[in-house]
Point group: C2
Chain length 366, copies 2
């Protein structure tokens, strides 16, 4: 599994339809539009992006598409704190003002927030229209753009409102990572590390060997990592699109991470940063369960640190954390279920952990 990874794309199989993920390095050369045009079925296109990404990548895409389609643009404010009803209403309003109909294709040009909101707008406008994902952050390339989870936040919880809705295609262009702030690159690496920890110890070794290259924006190496992560995720999504089983493993670190994000207010901790600290907490609980040893735990901490990620949460009262966990989607019948590591590269979903051990972990930095 440490053999070289060839990065050019893959197919994702879902109940509604299969769709390709194309991995390229050609942003701003107009080739983006060549890749996606075959996946636009009607004459109407609404590009949804944000005020950070628009100045960088909107113009060439828009100009190229305008040769063949009626193209309108909806520019949202950038940030997790805008992943809400107000922003989604801006998308609906843009669609209504243009008299766009069921044949419209929405294009999400941006990170996970833009992708999730555009996807949910596509899922719910006229009860469902087509959309295409052009993820411009590492996080969205390896995670949110694949698998059809769409949605917005509720004031009391992340991603509480949404739908499963699959795109027509995903175009992951590595060269968009050149303009990504280093902090966000690291946040994306948190999800990359997640795949290794829950699925593949050999990939963890590969990451340890290649982390410096990724931090230095080696697009070839980054493309290989994206390819590998998308393969894992596509495989899981094909097995379990609606997260009734194995897909839940992808939430490793997320129950702890959601507590951090909710407590600190959306947008103050990046999602990937919260997941990194959350994975560390989940690994600590896994160690207390006797599944990981001290060296395993140290290795998790080292790989996260090498990606410039936080390994400790902000101070949060343990009872507050437990209450916030009660709102997490992973809670079944009121019992908290967590994803823990049986070993490095192997995860389980379980509600069979000793509650005092969880409180110990939550108290460590409270």
């Amino acid at each position: 599994m440490t053999a070289p990874i060839s990065a050019n794309g893959l197919m994702v199989k879902t109940q509604s339809h299969d769709y390709p993920i194309v991995i390229t390095k050609d942003a701003r050369k107009l080739s983006m539009s060549e890749q996606i045009v075959p996946f636009i079925s009607g004459q109407q296109v609404l590009i949804v992006t944000n005020d950070t990404v628009a100045p960088l990548y909107l113009q060439p895409l828009q100009s190229a598409l305008e040769k063949s389609f009626t193209v309108k643009v909806c520019i949202l404010p950038d940030g997790e704190q805008y992943k809400n009803q107000t922003s989604i209403n801006q998308i609906y309003d843009a669609l209504m003002i243009e008299h766009f109909n069921r044949d419209v294709t929405l294009i999400a040009l941006g990170g996970g927030v833009v992708g999730d909101m555009t996807g949910f707008a596509a899922a719910s406008f006229m009860r469902g229209v087509n959309f295409i994902q052009i993820p411009t952050t590492l996080l969205s390339q390896v995670d949110s753009s694949v698998g059809g989870k769409t949605g917005i936040n509720h004031p009391q919880g992340k991603n509480m409102i949404g739908a499963f809705w699959q795109p027509q295609m995903v175009l992951a262009d590595m060269s968009t990572l050149i303009t990504l702030p280093p902090r966000e690159l690291s946040a994306g690496l948190a999800e990359v590390i997640k795949y290794a920890l829950i699925m593949d110890a050999d990939f963890l070794t590969w990451l340890e060997d290649n982390m410096a290259a990724m931090i230095a924006l080696d697009l070839e190496i980054l493309g290989q990592a994206v390819q590998r992560c998308c393969e894992y995720k596509a495989d899981v999504v094909a097995q379990d699109e609606r997260e009734s089983g194995v897909r839940a493993l992808l939430n490793f670190g997320h129950t702890f991470g959601h507590v951090i994000e909710t407590h600190e207010g959306y947008g103050n901790w990046l999602h990937g940063e919260a997941v990194a600290a959350g994975m560390m907490q989940a690994a600590q609980l896994s160690q207390k369960m006797g599944w990981l040893n001290a060296e395993d735990l140290a290795r998790v901490e080292r790989v996260l640190a090498s990606a410039n990620l936080p390994t400790t949460p902000p101070p949060i009262d343990p009872q507050t954390a437990l209450d916030l966990m009660g709102h997490d989607k992973k809670v079944k019948q009121g019992q908290i279920r967590l994803i823990l590591l049986k070993s490095l590269g192997e995860a389980v979903v379980t509600d069979k952990f000793e509650a005092p051990l969880l409180v110990e972990v939550l108290s460590k930095h409270a």
Copy 2:
């Protein structure tokens, strides 16, 4: 086809799952809850209803369910004008306040507005939870509770935001019609008449024979009509869940009707009243196309009038009407598509009509 109709229910087949429609006459005898309990899978129930229906039917249902489940209630203001984001947020808030999770079952107790909003809340809360429909109006019993269309209105258009989401079961209790205002009973009869006009000339004859009994609240006859309409609709939905083909026929009268509802403001004309006047306009255009004769048209007008329904729209400028039609979901690639009658009992979807004839129809009462 004019043989007696036996009314006790049927199965609806959809892509996601099959579910029963149960037709009874036992409301307020606690038997409602006996019927639905087997279709509640978790321990959490949120009953969504409105301030008109709650005093009539909420208490026995809630008490009975409380024996087995954690039951909470969300009471919305009654009326089409509240079928909006604010109301759906009330449902989300109720779910969040109770810490309800993916195992929750939502129960829609009310008419089409309650059913559509509860269904969309179920479709979108945590990306999809179960729901059950208990339609308490004739309109929702024969139409909106069957087939999985859910949603809310956008300020610029009806049902613009929504999802296809199927309930676990539908309980249509005829005795709830006893408390239905006569104007709303008539509005429901508009949809009953619609099925006859687009699908079955013999059922039109049956309606002509039985309209007086239905207006007089003969629950046995009403149950037979509901059974027949649900059979038609279930058959259509099984063929075409997402309205790419034959399901569009069920929108007969609705493109014209939506113009009336949008122009007059939601809630001033009942949906069924707008559809009745809209069906009359569609029939007039069908006559101008040479498909119906004068006696056919008179028969449509008589059966609508016998159900105490309007047969003329309010005055609307024809250009305004055309503009409003441009926002209708049935518009494909900018071309208005209408459902017209080839004969009584046979409908077609077409954009092959002469525009001046449409303007003539729109000008008749402008």
